[in-house]
């Protein structure tokens, strides 16, 4: 319902170039975009930190190591928190939860969303009406509201936040894929595939879907950032990760009461989120212009 005009505009006939290794034109275009490449490196660095986790941090992120509320110093780069834990170690380990949340919730949103969009777009008719109306109703919710509804139903935990944020993004994928499929299924090669007797499922998966992947990849990259923002916001509100988890949103909430005396507890986790989300947005936009500058994906 949120702007049928805009939703049709998403359906730009995007036929993604087949990947031909590093010489594929979109890879070359992407590599020329310095901001996007730098952002990709930032994201990779965060992934390495998350994978190594407790092995690279200077102190145990869940144990008291010194007096509480010590300002940043050479020993504790980001200071210590209310319980005397090292904020720097907690921020590094916190990347595990946020990145995991980004990947899981995007997967949980993309898989059913792509599937529903594919059916709605390809089958049309009654299928399309039912799926599109339901997606419209879900899109009528700002995604944080939709996530709140799911949290209410499932209870407060970081796993449920991942599910909630995932469900909240299903309609965006469905709408995007439906648009691409509507234009792709008109193309002569799809008709040819049908004429030679392929079954509808095979056509949908082998011929239509593979050519609709570019906007899905772009949306997913942007959504990882969005999911991390919404997820950490829910944790900040007390609806997601619970203490003593080193989650970035929760850490900001814990430092809120002592903001005046110990600003470092709340500020550093937020800076970490900022670097991840800016990087996701720049990589997403870089991919979009590398695939097709006219592509419209609203992240």
């Amino acid at each position: 319902m949120a702007g049928p005009v805009a939703s049709e505009a998403l359906a730009a006939p995007v036929v993604a170039p087949a990947s031909r290794g590093l010489r594929a034109p979109w890879v070359r275009r992407f590599l020329r975009n310095k901001g996007a490449v730098a952002s990709l490196l930032v994201l990779l660095a965060w992934c390495v930190v998350a994978l190594l986790g407790t092995r690279v941090v200077p102190y145990d992120p869940t144990e008291t190591v010194d007096l509480a509320r010590q300002p940043p110093s050479a020993t504790y780069w980001f200071g210590t928190d209310l319980l005397g834990r090292d904020v720097f170690s907690r921020v590094l380990v916190g990347s595990q939860i946020s990145l995991w949340l980004g990947f899981i919730s995007v997967t949980l949103g993309a898989v059913p969303g792509v599937f529903l969009g594919l059916i709605a777009g390809y089958k049309g008719g009654w299928w399309d009406t039912v799926i599109s109306r339901c997606m419209d109703a879900l899109l009528a919710f700002p995604s944080i509201l939709l996530a709140l509804v799911v949290i209410v139903a499932l209870g407060t935990s970081i796993e449920n936040v991942m599910i909630a944020v995932g469900i909240a993004t299903v309609p965006q994928y469905a709408r995007l894929v439906r648009g691409s499929v509507l234009s792709i299924k008109q193309l002569p090669y799809v008709e040819a595939a049908r004429v030679v007797g392929n079954r509808p499922w095979r056509i949908m998966l082998r011929h239509v879907l593979v050519n609709a992947y570019a906007p899905v990849v772009v949306l997913s990259t942007l959504q990882i950032g969005n999911a991390i923002l919404i997820g950490s916001g829910l944790s900040f509100l007390g609806l997601g990760a619970q203490p003593p988890t080193p989650e970035w949103g929760l850490m900001s909430a814990e430092g809120r009461e002592v903001l005046k005396r110990a600003w470092w507890i709340s500020t550093f986790p937020g800076l970490a989120i900022l670097t991840v989300v800016v990087a996701c947005n720049l990589v997403g936009d870089g991919l979009r212009s590398a695939f097709d500058p006219r592509m419209r994906v609203e992240g």
Binding site: V150, V152, L237
Partner: protein, 311 residues
């Protein structure tokens, strides 16, 4: 035009109905006895079989779900969203008491978003592919990527604690609105700036811009009358979406600044497991969001008559 508005309103109704259905089902179908949850949450864990039975009766939980839903829908249509367990008050009353505060926040947040976003986007478009463009878009990216709660905390830290310009939270008067509105608006301003830039770049390449330059119109008129006016058309749709996003973003902003609004109400209701209140708030906010978007679509059709024939 009248027919267009009517058809859009008629399209709205099934969506509204679906929303009530989805929210109601989620609150009722999932495992867990709402009465029990409410007793545990609201009455400090004293769950006696008698009290449970009483509450079941009171809430009509023994009726079939369909009957419960129809009763809820009937009441909702006349503006009755049920009773809050925690406050022992009508949900509608609780929401309306706080809605003015949320609306005020969203309106001023939107104003901030436009006041920062439009000039920033214009500047980037006019200085396309220069260092100014890069800097302006860099600001836009960063402000759109900040967690709202974090921006709120940082602004309290800087403007209340260090500079002492505004109160950190609570209180009365316009001073208390400044930091929340800027926090909420700044995040959206990045999106507005990016949209204005791309739309302005597109418009500036149009023939009519070249024509108005060629006929000797002052650059100021070319940019404002012919450029910005046309570039703003796609922004109108976004303003509606942003406004809805702000009503929702208020959930976080109101908590950070301890403002008594609907957003904070819904969060406290979730934490207290006050399900009728949660249900009412969410249906209310979704309805407001839909209505705003309807109004924006109508305004859009009025600004750009081509739309009316394509929907």
């Amino acid at each position: 035009m009248g027919r267009y508005i009517l058809s859009r309103v008629l399209q709205l109704l099934p969506v509204l109905w679906l929303i009530t259905l989805i929210v109601f089902m989620i609150m009722h179908v999932l495992p867990g006895d709402p009465a029990e949850l409410m007793l545990a949450g609201a009455e400090g864990g004293a769950i006696t079989p008698e009290r449970l039975r009483e509450l079941h009766q009171e809430m009509g939980l023994d009726d079939p779900l369909v009957v419960q839903y129809l009763r809820f829908l009937g009441h909702a249509m006349i503006g009755d969203l049920g009773q809050s367990i925690r406050f022992r008050m009508p949900v509608t009353e609780l929401i309306l008491d706080r809605f003015a505060s949320t609306l005020e926040l969203a309106v001023f947040g939107l104003l901030v978003a436009l006041l920062i976003g439009v000039p920033l986007g214009m500047l980037a478009a006019l200085r396309q592919n220069t260092a100014i463009d890069t800097a302006a878009m860099g600001i836009a990216y960063v402000s759109a990527s900040m967690p709202i709660y974090w921006l709120g905390l940082v602004s309290i830290l800087i403007f209340s604690f260090i500079l002492g310009w505004f109160p950190p939270a609570g209180g009365d008067g316009w001073q208390t609105l400044v930091l929340p509105a800027v926090t909420l608006g700044l995040v959206s301003s990045g999106l507005v700036a990016r949209l204005i830039r791309s739309s302005m770049v597109e418009v500036l390449a149009e023939d009519y811009i070249r024509t108005s330059r060629a006929k000797g119109l002052p650059e100021r008129l070319v940019l404002w009358r012919h450029g910005l006016k046309n570039a703003l058309i796609p922004v109108v749709t976004m303003v509606g979406l942003q406004f809805g996003g702000m009503l929702a973003g208020a959930v976080v902003t109101e908590t950070v600044f301890s403002r008594p609004g609907v957003g904070r109400l819904v969060v406290s209701a979730i934490l207290a497991k006050d399900y009728p209140l949660v249900q009412g708030c969410i249906i209310f906010l979704a309805t407001v969001y839909l209505t705003v978007n309807l109004a924006v679509d109508v305004a859009y059709a009025w600004l750009d008559p081509r739309i009316r024939y394509t929907v």
